[in-house]
Assembly symmetry: C2
């Protein structure tokens, strides 16, 4: 997508469908635009000579505008966009509803709109949008009742109504925006385009948004990774829960991807995910105005012990930790604080603390090299002037260039002080836990901005052999593959136990004799899914019993289902489960994010404890390694309870190789290696199941 700077800073805006008709969207747009816009507004409407005193033209082609806002009814909106394109207008916002959100006719209309936009290479917002705003140009090209005040956050939302609610609240709180975009149906421009644009916009310091879906997951990850090296992105992605996902799907008409994919994708993208409106603004305000901390060590300075304890609990819930003060700091506190106080963190300067004691204590704490950030936490007292404390806090924050959050508790008494703080970029939080949450987000972003995104390793693999195996499903009704596809793993360098699938007892013996020790024998048939239930698995078979075992397996299969398609019998090396840990490496394909990798420990850990982790493929070595670390049961891989650690590097490599396989072959819809037995030295994929889409081959 091209440069969006003209979309937000046009010299001339055409309103296609401008009117003075009471209660109409066309009127609201023109009224909002002419209020503050530092540019020209051209009404387009063949019915009028002028609208609100502005000379109107009949056709958007006559306007020579940089941006066209389209509010005409849906059946003529596409034509209006085409005319804009023909006239060389590059930026279009389609306010009109009645497109993809309304059934098949609307969907066809939206398709047409997209094609027109592509033909003329348009930056098109919408359709079904509330419009856009950009405060530097004083442009309110929405039909909402509120205008944004100026600020350094840019805000996109898939819900127009949410924008009006947020602006009403934000204006009240003194929170401003640079650009605001109602995304609408995202026929052309989507969240990634705006993230990209705001990432290079010098006036945008934080990107925030409300999303119900992300269209192109991989593009989103790549774009957001780039942007979050400098600019924080905080998003509410709703549909987190099953109930919510169902509601989102019915609201937007899109297929809901799994929240596991969103969770993984947002994490990989470096996006800070907020779970509520409050979390969104609590963290965004901090990110918009404060320097990043040098460490995760927080100092809490308070005149009230109780709230001090509550805020310490909040620190315990976060990734931050309570700063340990240097000896010099402790000495200074000892000198300056009364004996009843607490010189350790949280620093209790006691209820009779006046402004001097408060600011002195804050100064001492912020000067300590062990302190990365501070929380100023107060309850109202007769001896404390809140406004003075606010001013001192602002001063000291600047002087020490460390982030500071405020929790001046109370109601009416706090308001003037809260305004002083807010104006200087120090949010005042009602509740200490919210202040700590916001500081934690700031610290998270510090980590994100320092991330190094490695390229995925490219392993040398036998892609052709893999393709041949996958192509075996062509022409079949059942496109699932099982152990007969172990060669697929082998082709991608994933170690499998020694062995083969054969179809005679003599061959079985030959394979078994090549293998050291006893073998495992399993019936191989797409018609027999639960082999163990029919006695279709034999463990620890000695060479001398292989012949009989073969015959017995075939007999059992035939007895179970006379017409079963029996591929043969797998004869496999015994894998040493006693010294190994069973893991599962899986993958399914998400509609938005594509291949989603899963890792967990086998059996109960995945099935009962649901102890799993997900990443969007392809993954780099460090991402794959993190997967092996972040499950709760990870200590079992690293030798818990006196056992030897297993070869985590080999597990990591298997995840990466699977990542490459499923990235190379979009035809693989889902795949499970279960178990992948992680051994003290190496890891072996004992069984595999996958489903193939032959049309993608």
């Amino acid at each position: 997508m091209g440069d969006l700077s003209e979309l937000f800073a046009p010299g001339r805006v055409a309103v296609v469908g401008a009117t003075e008709r009471e209660g109409s969207v066309g009127r609201a747009i023109v009224e909002n635009l002419i209020e503050d816009f530092d540019g020209e507004v051209v009404p387009v409407n063949p019915k009028y000579d002028e609208v609100f005193g502005l000379p109107a033209v009949a056709d958007v082609g006559e306007t020579d505008a940089d941006l066209a806002i389209v509010v005409v009814p849906p059946h003529i909106a596409v034509d209006a966009v085409r005319q804009a394109g023909e006239a060389g207008i590059q930026n279009v916002v389609v306010i009109t509803a009645g497109f993809g959100e309304t059934g098949s006719e609307g969907a066809a209309r939206e398709q047409e709109l997209t094609e027109v936009a592509e033909e003329y290479d348009l930056n098109l917002v919408g359709p079904n949008s509330l419009g856009i705003m950009s405060t530097p140009k004083g442009m309110n090209a929405t039909f909402g009742p509120e205008n944004a005040t100026s600020g350094n956050m840019s805000f996109m939302s898939q819900s127009g109504a949410f924008i009006t609610a947020v602006l009403d609240w934000a204006n009240d709180e003194g929170i401003g925006f640079k650009d605001v975009v109602s995304l609408g149906n995202k026929a052309v421009l989507d969240e990634s385009d705006f993230i990209d644009a705001w990432g290079t916009d010098e006036q945008t310091d934080v990107v925030i948004g409300y999303l119900e879906g992300i269209e192109e997951g991989r593009e989103f990850i790549d774009t957001a990774r780039e942007v979050t090296q400098d600019t924080p992105i905080v998003l509410v992605k709703s549909g987190r829960t099953d109930a919510g996902a169902q509601a989102a799907s019915s609201h937007t008409g899109t297929i809901a991807g799994s929240d596991q994919a969103y969770e993984a994708g947002l994490e990989q993208a470096g996006v800070i995910r907020a779970e509520s409106v409050q979390e969104l603004f609590d963290s965004a305000q901090m990110l918009a105005n404060q320097p990043l901390p040098d460490s995760k060590e927080i100092a809490i300075i308070t005149n009230a012990g109780g709230p001090g304890v509550m805020s310490t609990d909040a620190v315990g819930d976060s990734s931050l930790s309570m700063a340990s003060f240097s000896d010099e700091t402790l000495e200074e506190f000892s000198e300056k604080l009364p004996e009843e106080g607490n010189i350790y963190n949280p620093v209790d300067i006691v209820g009779d603390a006046d402004n001097d004691r408060f600011s002195e204590a804050l100064d001492v704490a912020l000067a300590d090299e062990n302190v990365g950030m501070a929380l100023v936490l107060t309850c109202p007292t007769a001896v404390l002037d809140y406004e003075q404390l606010a001013e001192d806090t602002v001063e000291l924050r600047k002087e020490h260039d460390k982030p500071v959050a405020a929790c001046f508790m109370g109601g009416e008494r706090v308001k003037p002080a809260a305004e002083i703080l807010q104006e200087s970029g120090i949010p005042n939080y009602f509740d200490p836990s919210r202040a700590v949450f916001a500081l934690d987000a700031l610290s998270d972003f510090k980590d994100i901005s320092r991330r190094e995104y490695d390229e995925p390793t490219e392993f040398d693999v036998d892609e052709e052999r893999a393709r041949e195996i996958l192509e075996s499903v062509k022409g079949r009704d059942d496109t699932r593959l099982g152990v007969e596809a172990m060669g697929l793993l082998d082709a991608y360098g994933i170690e499998t136990p020694q062995g083969d699938i054969i179809d005679s007892p003599a061959d079985a013996l030959e394979v078994a004799e090549d293998i050291d020790g006893n073998v495992v024998m399993k019936i191989v048939s797409p018609d027999i899914l639960h082999k163990s239930d029919i006695g279709g698995v034999k463990v620890g078979v000695e060479d001398e019993d292989v012949y009989d075992a073969y015959e017995d397996l075939i007999t059992r299969a035939r007895n179970y289902q006379p017409d079963a398609n029996i591929i043969g019998v797998q004869v496999q090396e015994m894998v040493d489960l006693d010294n190994g840990v069973e893991t599962i490496v899986g993958m399914n394909r998400d509609p938005q994010f594509g291949p989603l990798l899963m890792f967990g420990l086998g059996g109960i850990f995945v099935e009962v404890m649901e102890d799993t982790t997900f990443r969007v493929a392809p993954v780099a070595e460090n991402e794959a390694h993190t997967m092996t670390e972040e499950i709760d049961s990870a200590p079992l891989l690293r030798g818990a309870r006196g056992r030897d650690p297993v070869d985590v590097d080999e597990v990591t490599e298997t995840i990466q190789r699977l990542s490459q396989l499923v990235t190379d072959f979009p035809a693989i819809l889902e795949l499970d290696i279960n178990p992948l037995v992680a051994l003290p030295d190496g890891a072996k994929a004992v069984d595999v199941r996958l489903t193939v889409d032959p049309d993608e081959l």
Copy 2:
């Protein structure tokens, strides 16, 4: 503790230490008291004839007061309290600080204060208290800058500063209180006393509080259980996290109990635990004013799809569920709502909804029998009058007598409507997730108020035999016991494997011959903790090998530590681990709550996954049973992955029997049955370890 009604509604209040001196606590108290108090104030101060025009007396004994507020310095405060007691004044609030919170001298003074209070059977609040308030009498007997407005919540706090912050905020929000108590050091009256008093107070509909510690855990549980049959209790108990617990301990000077004990105790007490100030008031406001829901099914009515999805996510996070509407409701919605809307839950009545459509939709939803409660969720639009909607919401809530929460989103625009809602007991929440959280708390309390607290089962046990075994530690340095104490379990009817501890190979053989099948043999020595490491455990020993095995175990023990105290060898029946599930039942003694029971699955589940649950003993059958259900790994007990279920009833009974044992014997400081092997039929305690305090025997 006696009746506290006079404490909160005295006819005459004496202020011991009353003065007009600027900036003094004695002045602040008198000023606050005389402002609104519907009663008489008597200043007590030998230095003055009058204080603020009120005739002063020299001695509290001359006042004939119902309540004395003591603000004189610590060294004379105890005498003042004694004089009050002598004069028959039953209620005393000690504002004065300088007691237990300030070191050993203060602690001695506090002890003296407690003794005086006991002697005269005083209702004593404090010392080190901000004071108390009671709005029906207009009594503000605190030295804080704020007075409470009238309401139906009673509030206690271990932090006086927090009270001032809360009142400033609450007055601003129109939130009122019946009584407010600053608990101070809780030398006499503590949280349980006030819970008890407010439980029978007709003007208190909700009890809320901020606590840093609970003194008498069992008393607290018993009191709160009784009260929460009718009156909800919502508490912030800080020190939830390790960091917070440390801070709480240093703030109050008390030994911190484990948060596991608090979590269990509060749950068993029927208390709703809030994790932050915001959660406290969000839920308390709902509980103070709304009827309890008939079901957990919530209907969401909104004019904004996006926030509708967000609130559905919040429902997904809660114990509530989205109501499924009846056919009649769906039909009515189909008729009344525009086609673009959504007649399913969350009901989207679309952005152009006017007040009629909104209230009609809410009416229809609340009339549905499947709907237990509703959330009214709106974003500002040009066609919607917020104030009218607030009035309609209030009306419909009353009419249907179902709980309704409001989330009218926005800032300035919302305020008048929010006031209308608030006045009628419908809190308006900034964020839909907070509204859902509060409704969830309401529904939680419904469950709590319906709880039946069974009496713990009293099993027929051999207490004498148990005592003898425990007494074996008397006179020993090491007061730990191991397998040699298996008889303790046996005495309390907890099944143990067949077998015995013997000290000769011949006896070993005799025991082994009595046991069906092979046996397990283990060295028994308090000096050898890790038996397996020295080869001190032999599994599957056949009768013919028992003799040699005995000799070998003794030799290994001697080689490992020549002077080890070897009690003998345990010869035990083999427990069928293949068909069993290893569990752990443990107990330790908490300083506040006493015996704390733990249950979890053996090995990795407790050690790596930390999948455990706790209850304060004694527990009834249903509580013990819940413990076996609420761990994450509980499905493994009930036959996950194709295995047979184990005998959960027997596990439940073992927990109850252990509960009885540790309740009968305070001398048991900690005890672990590890493993308790749960079998398809029965459960066997294979090993035990405990620590005994002989002084408690």
